[in-house]
């Protein structure tokens, strides 16, 4: 994309500006990176109460028809046939080499599958799905819908007040109902490690819904900056950073997202590599890395062994406000992947001591019912 391409805006653009957001370009959209409260306090607020995120830049679509699940299985390693109506699962679009083209959420609905994909990948994803699946399960983009995320330990109380249909909803399920009288689709899911919801709403109603949620005492608007530190603490991958076309789902430690049947049967692009790595173990693995000092190690930081030889790289790194210290994730050879293994991080020419750490850095608090 050239620099003079005008940025796209979400249906909440005017609201972000009215709230005093600092807007930045992200995946071709003008997005709020932070509000006047600041990234650190926004992050802590989402962990303590409830945060409202605009994720309308992400791609939503329906893969329609009875064949949708079987058809999508030709493109992803996740088990779509096992999904019961209303169930949401995380999976990846893979390439023939077993690399990851994007990660996505798929929800089984009566009329097919509801998909949510990353903003930067959505056009390519949807074109690829249409090219491969075609008329077997027609793809209908939902470009006229916004997507909001309400995340945090008090999100459920807010929803219970405004959306009676949400009461008792389980983690990773979708319901259709009204929030303050506005018809929405909401999944109990998110990308912060907290309990919460992702809410799909017609673009024309998005601002009204956002204002309604922000009027609740627990809710504050949260920008992309805190979204990044929240998902990093939760150990969740950011596409294009922690996973990409060179990393397989097994290397990325996403084996939990592939069912026993699909591991055995394959039938998705790159299945040979995935099955080989399942059998033999991957050469490298995505791990958590905890610097021992206070200096953050950013994306791109070299990971070295005791002798100072480069063994890997940090793919996401920064300061975790709840972890109250620097945290990273990155790739290291399997021999170095065990938690507690000492490694070095080369920051501004100096090798800083660090240890491989289990993830998440901050425990997940999903609602299991």
């Amino acid at each position: 994309m050239s620099d003079d391409t005008p940025l796209k805006t979400t249906p909440l653009d005017a609201l972000h500006r009215a709230l005093g957001a600092k807007m930045v370009p992200f995946a071709g959209y003008a997005m709020p990176v932070q509000y006047p409260m600041g990234i650190l306090n926004e992050h802590l607020h989402a962990r303590a109460a409830a945060g409202l995120f605009d994720v309308s830049h992400m791609g939503q679509a329906i893969l329609a028809g009875a064949e949708a699940a079987a058809a999508l299985e030709t493109m992803v390693p996740g088990d779509q046939l096992a999904l019961k109506e209303g169930a949401t699962r995380y999976t990846q679009l893979t390439n023939d080499e077993g690399g990851i083209l994007d990660d996505l959420m798929a929800t089984k609905r009566a009329d097919g599958l509801y998909l949510v994909v990353n903003a930067a990948c959505k056009d390519a994803d949807f074109a690829r799905i249409e090219a491969k699946i075609g008329a077997r399960a027609p793809l209908r983009r939902l470009d006229d819908r916004a997507l909001l995320a309400l995340q945090g330990p008090q999100a459920a109380a807010v929803m219970a007040r405004l959306a009676p249909d949400s009461v008792g909803q389980k983690f990773m399920t979708l319901r259709e109902g009204t929030i303050g009288g506005i018809a929405c689709l909401f999944t109990r899911s998110g990308y912060t490690g907290e309990d919460g919801y992702e809410i799909s709403v017609p673009a024309a109603e998005a601002e009204k819904l956002a204002k309604l949620l922000l009027a609740e005492p627990e809710v504050k608007p949260i920008g992309l900056g805190a979204r990044d530190s929240l998902r990093l603490e939760a150990g969740l991958c950011l596409y294009g950073h922690d996973i990409d076309t060179t990393t397989s789902p097994i290397e990325a430690d996403l084996v939990w997202s592939i069912s026993k049947r699909r591991r055995a049967e394959g039938g998705f692009p790159g299945a040979a590599r995935v099955q080989r790595e399942l059998a033999q173990g991957p050469a490298r693995k995505r791990v958590g890395i905890l610097p021992e000092g206070r200096a953050p190690a950013r994306e791109g930081t070299e990971v070295v062994d005791a002798a100072g030889a480069k063994i890997g790289v940090v793919t996401s790194g920064g300061f975790g406000p709840t972890a109250n210290g620097p945290i990273c994730m990155g790739y290291v050879p399997a021999a170095f992947a065990a938690p507690g293994t000492p490694v070095g991080l080369v920051v501004r020419g100096k090798t800083l001591p660090a240890k491989i750490a289990g993830m998440p850095f901050v425990p997940h608090r999903y609602f299991r019912g």
Binding site: V33, Q34, G38, I39, L40, N41, H43, G225, S229, R294, A295, P296, R298, G318, F319, P321, P326, R348
Partner: protein
């Protein structure tokens, strides 16, 4: 009388009596950086050139270099920033100072902006 002089890179130096001067980053700079979570300070005794890289300040967002407004020798660092880097946000021109530099060359100060000139400069940045 002590007064602040500023660089275009948003560092300040407290100009006063004697030959030791406090250096930090401006209120505008801390606002642009956002929440400061780590500060890497120079070693005491280090000789730094005018405009030389002297410290690193890391916010939640990113790392930024801090340059010395004048040439001199580092004679003190603000250890309080190690335990409470947020002082840079709370009191950028007070308790959030970075280091102290010793120099006899006071002619260097003439090239720096005073508060009025700096405020106008920042206003011009939009």
């Amino acid at each position: 009388m002590a007064e602040l002089r500023f660089t275009k890179d948003h560092e300040w130096i407290r100009v006063g009596d004697g030959d030791v001067y406090e250096i930090g980053i401006s209120d505008y700079a801390q606002g642009q950086l956002g929440d400061v979570v780590f500060v890497e300070l120079p070693e005491i005794g280090k000789k730094i050139a005018k405009g030389g890289q002297a410290a690193v300040v890391e916010s939640v967002k990113a790392a930024s270099d801090v340059y010395s407004p004048v040439a001199g020798e580092v004679v003190a660092i603000n250890d309080a920033l190690t335990g409470d880097p947020g002082l840079v946000n709370k009191e950028p021109t007070g308790a959030g100072w970075f280091f102290k530099l010793k120099t006899g060359d006071t002619a260097q100060f003439a090239e720096l902006m005073d508060q009025g000139a700096y405020d106008a400069y920042v206003k011009g940045l939009g």
